[in-house]
């Protein structure tokens, strides 16, 4: 009787213990599920031959496959180089765990996904190997950033070289300028010159003068653009700044069929802001408009630059009849390093820098876009009261 009692109490104790373990197990399971569901890392598990048995939400997102599509498939098939991946799996079997700073997976859409990877052996209670767990961080954005930084550095270097060249060119330009001016005076005063010859010579020298002035405008504008200095405030006419901007971009427009239309407000619009920074914004937006029109490939390229006085200041809008911004790109156009241009053509910096500049000047940069019809960017610049 006594032993039955003690057995019964033992049973109760064990039952309680089992129940508590069950709760604990349940909690651990929920915890793991939560990690797998929410981690942005690629977390997977394979059975002993390398066939996938688990594939986290983060993995689905990073590689573009739903879990059902990959379960039962060899995990190495997801990598770009199955052989090296297999070698890494073998290494982890020998060493228990292994990591590699960079391997390449292939996204479902064919693009490369750069990952840092750690592989661990899964061992059961009997100390037998039953599979492998992999945890990978998607470092594609970081890699892209690194590549972009190299590109930006190159562009910055180009800027420096260009300004050095412009400086150097200014000296001989100054000499041509003075020499042709002197020639003009000599021709005017020369005795015994046939009048027709005199006129022709004068006209020729005038052309030299004109072209020298043109060169000077280019070098000055270039240096103006490259020069960095603290933000300033000055009162200036927004219309002449916009015209100057388009002048600066004339070389880009020259061999295109793009027509630039100025739809300026009737009244002159003096504003107080930083003309150099605003010019940078306009150069960027008009360049984007030119590219949008060119990519679209239609013959009748048109860019309209409009100014309107508003209650708070001035609105400048730059409208193109290019292809418009694709729906899927709209969320990202102001994101740093986002670009739809081919590698080497765009840094993905322009719009994000523009928005920052306009924001710092107390204004706003917004856009409207319609597929097939074009895009209009509007810069609202406040005028201090």
């Amino acid at each position: 009787m006594e032993s039955t009692k003690s057995l019964s109490s033992e049973l109760t104790k064990v039952t309680r213990e089992v129940a508590s373990y069950k709760i604990e197990l349940d909690q651990t399971r929920k915890y793991l599920h939560c990690v797998l569901q929410n981690s942005t890392d690629i977390i997977f598990m394979t059975e002993i031959t390398g066939l996938l048995v688990s594939f986290s939400k983060g993995a689905e997102k990073a590689l573009g496959y739903a879990m059902e599509e990959v379960i039962g498939r060899p995990v190495k098939d997801l990598s770009e180089d199955a052989e090296s991946f297999e070698a890494l799996m073998v290494k982890s079997r020998l060493k228990g765990n292994v990591s590699a700073p960079e391997i390449h997976f292939r996204h479902k859409d064919g693009t490369r996904v750069h990952c840092h990877i750690s592989l661990m052996e899964l061992i059961n209670r009997e100390d037998n190997r039953v599979g492998t767990i992999g945890v990978c961080q998607d470092i594609t954005r970081w890699k892209k950033l690194q590549e972009d930084l190299v590109q930006i550095d190159r562009l910055a270097e180009m800027g420096r070289i260009a300004s050095g060249v412009a400086h150097e060119i200014n000296n001989p330009l100054a000499i041509i300028n003075e020499a042709s001016g002197w020639a003009e005076e000599v021709i005017t005063d020369a005795k015994g010159l046939n009048p027709d010859d005199r006129e022709e010579l004068k006209e020729t020298v005038r052309k030299i003068n004109l072209q020298t002035r043109r060169c000077r405008n280019i070098t000055h504008k270039l240096l103006d653009f490259v020069r960095d200095s603290a933000p300033t405030r000055a009162e200036f006419d927004i219309h002449s700044l916009l015209k100057d901007t388009v002048d600066l971009l004339r070389p880009e427009l020259k061999h295109t069929a793009i027509e630039v239309e100025f739809a300026f407000s009737q009244e002159s619009l003096p504003i107080t802001s930083d003309p150099r920074l605003l010019e940078q914004v306009f150069v960027n937006l008009v360049t984007n408009a030119i590219h949008a029109v060119l990519e679209n490939g239609k013959g009748n390229g048109h860019i309209k630059i409009q100014t309107i006085r508003t209650d708070s200041g001035v609105d400048v809008s730059i409208e193109d009849n290019g292809g418009g911004i694709p729906e899927e790109a709209r969320a990202s156009i102001f994101t740093l390093f986002y670009t739809t241009k081919p590698p080497g053509k765009g840094t993905g910096l322009g719009l994000s820098i523009c928005r920052n500049i306009v924001k710092n000047l107390g204004g706003e940069l917004s856009y409207q876009s319609k597929i097939g019809a074009g895009t209009t960017f509007t810069i609202s610049i406040p005028t201090p009261k």
């Binding site: 400086h167 100054a174 000499i175 041509i176 300028n177 003075e178 001016g181 020069r227 200095s229």
Partner: protein, 164 residues
């Protein structure tokens, strides 16, 4: 041209070709022009000859435009300086305390602009100089010197002011 006062201009630039054409044109327009191809040469000339306006290039080997301008003003305090600069160096010139230059012009300079700047600088020079000259002459009369003393002192002043 005959109405134009005789403006004495000192051109300082190491670009000899530039100075050659610039001085020819200025001479033809009735200016009295002297050229120096370095800051050091300019200082030497200024020690013996009076000028109204100096046109000085900012970037020169040896003594640069900033220092040249400083030294010229020490020798001839009423001299007005026009500094020629490459683009972008205006701020740096201003920051380094060179606000006493009468004007800054960007290279390559439009000749008409240069002429206008020289004429403006000359006006300024005459204005400043006359004011100071008057003050000093008045101070002289007030000092109670005799006629002979005053004549002698004015003679000294004329020398300082480069008035012939």
């Amino acid at each position: 041209m005959s109405e134009q006062p005789n403006i004495r201009v000192l051109l300082v630039d190491d670009e000899e070709n530039l100075i050659e054409f610039m001085s020819k044109r200025l001479l033809k327009q009735g200016f009295t022009v002297k050229a120096a191809f370095s800051g050091e040469a300019a200082i030497k000339v200024a020690e013996t000859t009076h000028f109204d306006v100096a046109v000085v290039d900012l970037k020169m080997p040896g003594m640069d435009g900033v220092e040249t301008q400083h030294k010229l003003k020490e020798i001839q305090p009423f001299l007005q300086c026009i500094v020629l600069t490459g683009h972008g160096s205006i701020e740096s010139a201003l920051e380094s305390g060179q606000e006493d230059a009468f004007n800054y012009l960007l290279k390559p300079v439009d000749h008409d602009k240069l002429v206008a700047a020289i004429k403006d600088a000359y006006k300024k020079k005459v204005e400043v100089q006359d004011k100071k000259f008057k003050e000093q002459v008045e101070a002289l009369y007030a000092s109670g010197l005799g006629a002979h003393g005053i004549r002698k002192a004015i003679g000294e002043l004329r020398k300082i002011y480069g008035i012939d």
